[in-house]
Structure formats: C-alpha cells, structure tokens
C-alpha cells in the first residue's frame, strides 16, 4: 500500500496544478469568447442553463410564497411587468425590444414560466436576478411586495390571451396593436419598448 502512496499523491497534486494553469491560461489569453455576438458553445450553453436552474432551485428553498394571490396582486404585477420586464421578455403577442436579440444569453419569452418554475423559484429569480446575464435583482429597486406582485402576474400569464394583455395595456394608457378581428390585419407596431 505504501508503494503507490507517494507517487499517487504527487501525481494528484501535479494534476491539480496543471488544471489551475489551464484555467489561468484561458483567462489570461482571452481564450473564452465573451462576445455576446457569438453563441455559446453547446456544452457551455448546457452547463450554464443547468447551473442556473439548479442554483435557483437551491436558493429558493427557504422562500415562502403568500397564502394566495388576489386579482389586485395580478394587476399590480402587470403594471410592474409592463414597465420593467416586457422590453426584454415580451408578452403574449408582444415583441421584445429590437436590441434584445443581441444578448447572450437571450432573455426568454416567459409567457408560461409559471408552468416550469414554482412561485418560490420565480420570486428568487426576479428578486435576486441572475449573474452573468442582464437580469437584474429587482428586489433592490422594487421591494419584496412588488416582486411578489410580479410573481402573481406570472402565475396568471399563461391564461392571458394577447387581447387580454392588450386590454390591460390600454387601461394602463399604453399604445398597443389594435386587434380589429381575424379578417382585418391591424397596424403592426414597429417595435415595443
């Protein structure tokens, strides 16, 4: 047993040193392409996406959602969403701002986010943001109450048709596409946001 112990330990240490040198080289020589204009390599895309999901699941464990969401919560959440979120995340029938397609990772349309994430997870994502993406930690500026309103709205969003969303926008006083019925093509907005 003692025969391989020392060479084994030396090999292990050398292996770690080599890995550290490789990491240093990647950082120092700019070998990792940070430009947003080029897509992630597939393995990097998989790892980043999985890390985000697993990290959010871990960090949302202690979060307690409210007993239930009221319609007032949903409407308040819509106001916050339409003001702060729609330009990156779009909505039912609502486009993202033109420059958003230049972002890596791309902020997803989140029409059915409530089907994939629990309320506690949605809260954590919105409240605490996501590193190395453009997703801010909205808790800082909105406060926890407003963030829960946004979560309430996200819970309702899969059930809102494009017309419903448009009606909410017009009640809020926003310009939006005019839906005049299936036979007429209404004016198509250039971009939103």
């Amino acid at each position: 047993m003692k025969r391989w112990l020392i060479p084994g330990a030396v090999g292990l240490v050398l292996g770690y040193v080599l890995m550290g040198l490789v990491v240093l080289a990647v950082v120092e020589f700019g070998l990792f392409d940070v430009r947003a204009s080029t897509p992630h390599k597939r393995i990097v895309a998989w790892a980043a996406h999985k890390a985000m999901i697993d990290s959010m699941r871990l960090h949302s464990r202690h979060v307690q959602p409210p007993e239930r969401f009221t319609p007032a919560d949903v409407v308040a959440g819509f106001h916050a969403y339409d003001t702060h979120c729609v330009m990156c995340h779009g909505g039912p029938g609502v486009a993202r701002a033109a420059w958003v397609k230049g972002m890596t990772p791309s902020p997803p349309y989140i029409v059915d986010s409530a089907r994939f994430w629990t309320p506690a997870e949605l809260f954590t994502i919105v409240n605490d943001g996501v590193k190395m993406t453009a997703m801010p930690a909205w808790g800082d500026t909105l406060g926890r109450g407003r963030v829960w309103n946004v979560v309430a709205f996200l819970e309702a969003l899969p059930y809102l048709s494009p017309r419903d969303y448009d009606a909410l926008r017009r009640a809020k006083g926003q310009m939006g596409p005019v839906f005049t019925g299936p036979k007429t093509a209404g004016p198509v907005p250039a971009q939103n946001g």
């Binding site: 909505g91 486009a95 230049g102 349309y109 029409v111 059915d112 089907r115 839906f179 019925g181 093509a185």
Partner: protein, 122 residues
C-alpha cells in the same frame, strides 16, 4: 398476392420508414440554415417552441417544430413554402393579428435563414 396489392404494400412500407419521404425538397432560396440555428437561439424561439437541434428549446407556448419540413400549413393560414414561412417568421402579427406569437424583430434575411433551418427538420 397480386401485383396491385404488392404495390400498395410497398408504398405503405416506404411511408413507414422515412418521415422525410413526405417533405418537399425546396430549391435554394437564399437562407443559411446554420445561421438560422444561431438566430433561433438569439430570438428566443425555444422559449415558446420545442425545436430539435437547439439547446434549451422546450417551450410549450406554441406548437412543437419537429419535422417542420413536413408541415403543410403554417399557423393554420398559409401553405408551407419558403416565401410564406419567411413572411410568417418576420411578421406573424400581420398574418394572424392578435395571435400569441410576437413579431420576432428578425429582418427578411434573418427570417429566411430561420426558415432554412426549419426545413432541415425533416
């Protein structure tokens, strides 16, 4: 077993072994499928559609796009041709006003590239 029955069975067998047997082969229309694949990620299409060959494309808001080359009608409105598909991708709100798919913000060339990628999904 007569010749006619054999011919029918032969056709059935061919249909069973190749989905691509049903998809038309379009002549080149100026779309780059590799660039199209990049644009699909850029435009976040996968947030709403399941799309083979694209990472993290497992949205359930819109229909899945597997075997899209075989799809006969786009959005229940337009025959699936390169020109129509390019138009749909760039201007969905003009084709079906008020539908849940937003205008993608893709230029005509970008939409052509995305259409070319979708046509690789045989």
């Amino acid at each position: 077993m007569n010749a006619r029955l054999l011919a029918i069975l032969g056709c059935l067998a061919l249909g069973a072994c190749g989905e691509s047997a049903k998809a038309p082969h379009w002549p080149p229309f100026g779309g780059d499928p590799d660039q199209g694949r990049v644009l699909v990620t850029r435009a976040s299409c996968g947030a709403c559609h399941r799309i083979p060959g694209v990472e993290n494309a497992h949205g359930e808001v819109g229909p899945p796009l597997a075997h899209y080359a075989q799809r006969t009608v786009i959005a229940g409105m337009l025959p699936n041709t390169p020109q129509n598909l390019t138009y749909w991708i760039a201007h969905p709100q003009a084709v079906v006003p008020g539908n849940a798919m937003p205008n993608t913000g893709l230029s005509d060339q970008e939409a052509r590239d995305v259409a070319a990628y979708l046509y690789t999904l045989r």
